[in-house]
């Protein structure tokens, strides 16, 4: 009983290769149902995101190996010209489980601790469950992976701290102001970067966001999208600089749009109450001399990257804790797999005892009263349970180094004279 995983991801292949192998939802369904209906796999699931396409398979034949699956997906995607087996990784059994646990807990991601991957793993499982290619093994594997991810999220700080420039800007603003809902925010530039920063600010309860942009319609559209509906004409926003606690600039310009003299005048008007300017423009939008104005925090992209680097450093420091959680769950998963292996023997053992009991009870059926028969049945049930308790406990126990699962199973089967088990899944 094996679980194989093969795939391409950001560690094994460049983006051109990942693009060639990636599967849409429709292709995903077609691929996994194809594997199962062709008798290649008992169970199959595909995780396909922008950074990875990975197949998880419980093989139905001995011939199905990692290499077999690599060739299978290359041929399915008709990517033989561009993609080679060397672009793939492959894992088996516990290696597969460990890999999925690492993927789900976002420590295998391009950005350590990113928050999207768990949803993508859940989506992959949903698709497999929908087309009924996720059986007992993949279901258990995926649910354990979800549980690992949850534990990692709650017990470690792997997902804490901003790792994008726009989010770092918000994190910094929150280190100066306690309540963003009470602060007035000016966004200069309604492009993609500005929009993202404004949305992060909005998510942190900043509601008083005023937008200004050279093209007024763009600022109006963004203001409407955010629900603030506050727009300033680009020609006159400088007259209102003193009103704002947070100023975000993200415009494409070769000249500084805010000078030291302008900010100095604005600060005097607002009685030196602290202001943070987040200059997300490249080239920079705000004169660096502005940082010399009293109670002024001017932060450009480089400064914000410092925050990101520190956060990533802290996240890396959490890796030992994450690995400890994964190891713990891996042991539990391995033990569950072992109980799966002994399950037929346990079922056979119980069936044999029930059969013996029923035969013996049958011999006395017409010799004793109904009440006595019921008591005898009750008594034999209790004796049977007590006799079976130890052998079943021994079969389910974790494997030690001096023992092995087949020898235990053989021992029980020989002692109780059980027939040879079927070799089916």
């Amino acid at each position: 009983m094996n679980i194989i995983s093969v795939g391409v991801n950001h560690k094994t292949a460049p983006i051109e290769i990942r693009e060639r192998i990636s599967l849409s939802e429709v292709q995903n369904k077609e691929f996994v149902t194809g594997l199962v209906s062709a008798g290649i796999a008992h169970e199959a699931m595909v995780l396909s995101t922008c950074n990875r396409t990975e197949i998880y398979v419980v093989p139905a034949m001995h011939e199905v190996t990692g290499e077999y699956l690599k060739d299978y997906i290359i041929s399915f995607r008709e990517a033989g010209k561009d993609v080679r087996p060397e672009h793939f990784f492959s894992r088996f059994y516990c290696g597969t489980a460990r890999h999925l646990f690492e993927v789900s807990s976002a420590i295998d991601s391009l950005i350590l601790g990113e928050g999207q991957i768990l949803g993508q793993v859940k989506e992959a499982y949903r698709i497999a469950a929908e087309v009924q290619t996720a059986g007992i093994l993949l279901t258990r594997l995926c649910h354990t992976a979800f549980s690992v991810a949850k534990k990692v999220k709650t017990r470690t700080k792997i997902m804490e701290g901003a790792v994008s420039v726009s989010y770092a800007a918000v994190e910094l603003a929150q280190k100066i102001f306690s309540n963003l809902s009470m602060k007035k925010v000016l966004l200069v530039g309604a492009g993609e970067t500005g929009e993202l920063a404004a949305k992060h600010m909005f998510a942190k309860n900043a509601r008083n966001i005023v937008i200004t942009n050279r093209t007024r319609s763009k600022s109006e559209a963004l203001a409407e999208e955010l629900g603030t509906n506050q727009v300033l004409p680009y020609e006159s926003y400088k007259e209102h600089l003193h009103e704002f606690d947070i100023i975000i600039t993200a415009v494409s310009t070769k000249e500084y749009i805010i000078s030291e003299a302008e900010m100095h005048a604005a600060m005097l008007k607002r009685r030196l109450k602290p202001v943070i300017i987040l200059d997300l423009g490249l080239p920079r939008n705000v004169d660096p001399e502005v940082s010399k104005v009293q109670n002024m925090f001017l932060k450009d992209i480089d400064a914000l990257k410092h925050i990101i680097d520190k956060n990533l450093e802290r996240r890396s420091g959490e890796l030992p804790k994450v690995h400890a959680i994964i190891d713990e769950e891996l042991v539990a998963f391995g033990q569950w797999i072992n109980t799966l292996k002994v399950r037929p023997t346990i079922v056979d053992l119980q069936s044999k005892f029930i059969e013996i009991k029923e035969k013996e009870i049958e011999r006395y059926r017409h010799k004793v009263s109904e009440e006595e028969l019921r008591r005898m049945e009750h008594l034999t049930d209790r004796i049977m349970k007590k006799i079976l308790h130890h052998p079943i406990k021994m079969l389910k126990a974790p494997i030690s180094t001096s023992d092995s699962m087949p020898s235990r199973v053989d021992l029980v089967r020989n002692v109780f004279d059980l027939e040879e088990p079927n070799q089916s899944h």
Partner: protein
Amino acid sequence: MNNILLTNSPLLLLTQALSLLYLLTTGLYGAHFFGDIQFAKKYKQPSLVMTLLTHLVYLGLLTSIDGFRIGYSTFNIMTMVALTLTTTYFFIEFTTKNDKTGFFVLAFASGAQLLSSILTAQATGTSAAFSGIGIGVHLISSIFSFSAIAIAGLYSFLYLLLFRQIQRNRFELLFQRLPNLEVLERLTMHAVAFGFIFLSITLFAGVIELKANGGAIELMDIKVITLVIIWLFYGVSIFIRPLIGWDIKNMAYLFIILFVFITMLVTLMAIFSPTFHTAAP
């Protein structure tokens, strides 16, 4: 004369236990702040409560010697400073749900308690205790005033520290763990407001007591002068910011200076001039 600890073994035991508890609690807050140690996070609050309760028992036992009246001595003043600082911090933590500044306040409280324990061990006889509501209010409110001044000074220091960290793009431990600038500013100003109220009570109770004693206290006494100066500074700083928008950074510097000044004064006066106030000629 006998040392009070040598004649009272439960008090001797409590004095040592209390100092250790203060150090333990400070250590736990420090371990959580600097090392993010989960064990410290779990046990720091119970340890804080235990320290406060032990301190109250200790104070009860200490004052029971003289009819539950607090005597004016260095060790009494220091232990009261530790208690009021810890009590004030306890309320700050439980009302603001912010436990990130505990180490800094409790380290100061531990220092005061440790000094008190050392001085108690060296003290001979009991110090003069004061009776009457007026003098009691005067003494207690002056101790609370000092605690408020200490907290204002400590939070001002943390404010300036974080301000510089942000300006210099040093996004490390202090940036991560300290509350934001606005919260630190608010805590400082609350401490200043409380300090002003307690200083006013101290002065008011002192004036009433002075009249009751027929002017037996020298008005040019250094403690009286210092008290009035600090009271003026605090009063002005409460109103100056909303009126003319004085820079919080400048205020922070002022509160730190006042805190350092009064700490030195209290310590020196307590060691070299262990009398209540200079008597008028």
